[in-house]
């Protein structure tokens, strides 16, 4: 679906800094009665009502009371500020009290009680998991439309908003149809452009501007939401595809050569040519990618959009199918594989390395349109490139090979086949 933007949803802002209510979650052992007695004795917490009906629980909690969910052995208690330390001590000392944690807000403030209940259900789950040492690291699918009023769902999913890094001082390159150098969000950020297409300079297509925006767009765009991952990176753009969207290996390789000589730490290539199962990768591109790594440049490329899931899957495109080029698959906002996203069907580099947001991705588009929401592994790829720029800032001494390892090692595991998503969902440092 192409469009000029997305309306905000009502779902959680995944990845937003944690916020808390004034209440506490208390995890009790099997003897809940003993635990409640301990809370009463140690912290003066009383009047905890055992409830099984969520509606009744919401009423109690909204009235400032405390409730016990007997089935799961969790109490949600409201205490006065001067009781908090005693409550936390009870969590540490009382044998029947396994854990005490502040209740998190996982949904927007002012939401209805059903939303509120889902929030503390999730909070309870977090307490139980942490208390029992169950840190799965598996991303939970989001079943609601994300709230994109402040930032795109993609930035939320890759946790770019929480990152302490912006890619400052890091040079990042996009090789594509160019960039709209007059775009108000990008004009001040683009350090250098170079065209490898005779007679064409600017982005007369839009694809390149969109990719530049996702990888390196600003922290404060002219119009919200924010859509760029590495907001402080120095942007280099090579035009290797014509305004009609076509290009050949000669221009692409010339672009890679240029980006390396400019000292770019990452090259984002949302381009590719389809392959067949059984095809081998380009020997030339693989040699180039290895030489790029030795010169401290990571190359990231789109896995391709030739699948029609669930009917059929297509193999990773050229040149993403090279072992030393990172192949990026596309996810939707439920963290499911995009129906068009190619799969790792060939050996020797034809695998998917990592996945990133690639469905309904909002980013910059040449003026006067300014912004557009589109889909594709082309949109997933610059999310990864942006994160590489953040990693390069976070680990300035790291080699390109080490950056690759950090990237893949920090990906969030998904409950999906590595044939489709590789190491999982890319995560900002």
């Amino acid at each position: 679906m192409a469009g000029t933007g997305r309306s905000g949803g009502t779902g959680p802002l995944r990845g937003r800094p944690l916020q808390y209510t004034g209440a506490y979650l208390v995890l009790l052992d099997d003897d809940a009665g003993a635990g409640l007695s301990a809370l009463s004795d140690a912290a003066g917490v009383g009047g905890v009502e055992a409830v099984s009906d969520p509606g009744a629980a919401a009423d109690v909690l909204e009235g400032g009371g405390s409730v016990l969910f007997e089935q799961i052995g969790v109490a949600v208690v409201t205490v006065e500020p001067d009781q908090r330390q005693a409550l936390l001590r009870a969590g540490a000392d009382a044998p029947n009290v396994l854990a005490v944690e502040r209740e998190r807000i996982l949904h927007a403030l002012g939401t209805p009680s059903a939303e509120y209940l889902r929030g503390y259900r999730d909070g309870v789950a977090a307490v139980v998991a942490s208390s029992l040492g169950e840190v799965s690291g598996v991303a939970e699918p989001c079943t609601q439309a994300p709230d994109e009023s402040l930032s795109t769902w993609g930035l939320q999913a890759v946790r770019a908003l929480e990152s302490g890094f912006t890619g400052a001082g890091v040079r990042g390159c996009v090789l594509d149809t160019g960039v709209d150098t007059a775009h108000p969000d990008l004009a001040d950020r683009v350090v250098l452009t170079q065209s490898f297409i005779p007679g064409e300079l600017e982005d007369g297509h839009g694809h390149g501007t969109h990719c530049v925006g996702t990888a390196f767009g600003p922290a404060s765009p002219q119009t919200l939401p924010r859509y760029g991952v590495a907001t402080g990176a120095e942007i280099y753009v090579g035009k290797v595809l014509s305004d009609a969207g076509s290009g050949g290996d000669r221009a692409i390789l010339a672009g890679i050569n240029w980006a390396i000589t400019q000292g770019c730490r990452v090259i984002s290539m949302s381009l590719g040519a389809p392959t067949q199962v059984g095809d081998t990768h380009s020997v030339v591109y693989e040699a180039v990618a290895q030489r790029a790594l030795r010169q401290n440049t990571v190359i990231v490329a789109a896995a391709g959009n030739d699948s029609t899931r669930p009917v059929s899957t297509a193999s990773v495109s050229h040149p993403a199918n090279c072992p030393s080029i990172l192949a990026v698959a596309a996810l939707d906002d439920a963290l499911a594989v995009a129906e068009f996203s190619n799969a790792g069907l060939n050996p020797e580099g034809g695998q998917i390395d990592i996945a990133a947001p690639g469905v309904d991705v909002y980013s910059a588009w040449p003026e006067p349109q300014s912004y557009l929401t589109i889909s594709g592994t082309s949109m997933a790829t610059p999310h990864v490139a942006g994160v590489v720029a953040l990693l390069a800032e976070a680990h300035p001494e790291a080699s390109a090979a080490e950056l690759k390892d950090l990237l893949l090692g920090s990906a969030r595991r998904l409950d999906l086949s590595s044939i489709d998503v590789g190491a999982g969902l890319v995560q900002a440092p």
Partner: protein
């Protein structure tokens, strides 16, 4: 004299050639004798690009320092208004 690139009589194909980075200059100097035209060196990545008649590709491949010769691939994006890019 070869026909203009892309003209009806032009049978040459665009190629990308991987060479040992330290031998780019040597291969470049020898490449025209092996039939490579419009040669452009990309020294940082050890590549020479150009055009060549298909019948001479094997000779180019056998030049000292040449690691691989591949016919240029083309990529094509969907039009700007396509929902999937």
């Amino acid at each position: 004299m070869s026909p203009e690139p892309g003209s009806p009589g032009d049978e040459r194909v665009a190629v990308v050639v991987s060479v040992a980075p330290e031998q780019v200059d040597d291969v470049l100097a020898a490449s025209s004798g092996a039939g490579l035209e419009d040669a452009e060196p990309l020294s940082a990545i050890g590549v020479i690009t150009g055009r060549i008649h298909p019948s001479r590709m094997a000779a180019l491949h056998h030049l000292a320092g040449v690691q691989a010769v591949e016919v240029e691939r083309r990529v094509q994006l969907p039009p700007p208004d396509a929902p999937v890019q």
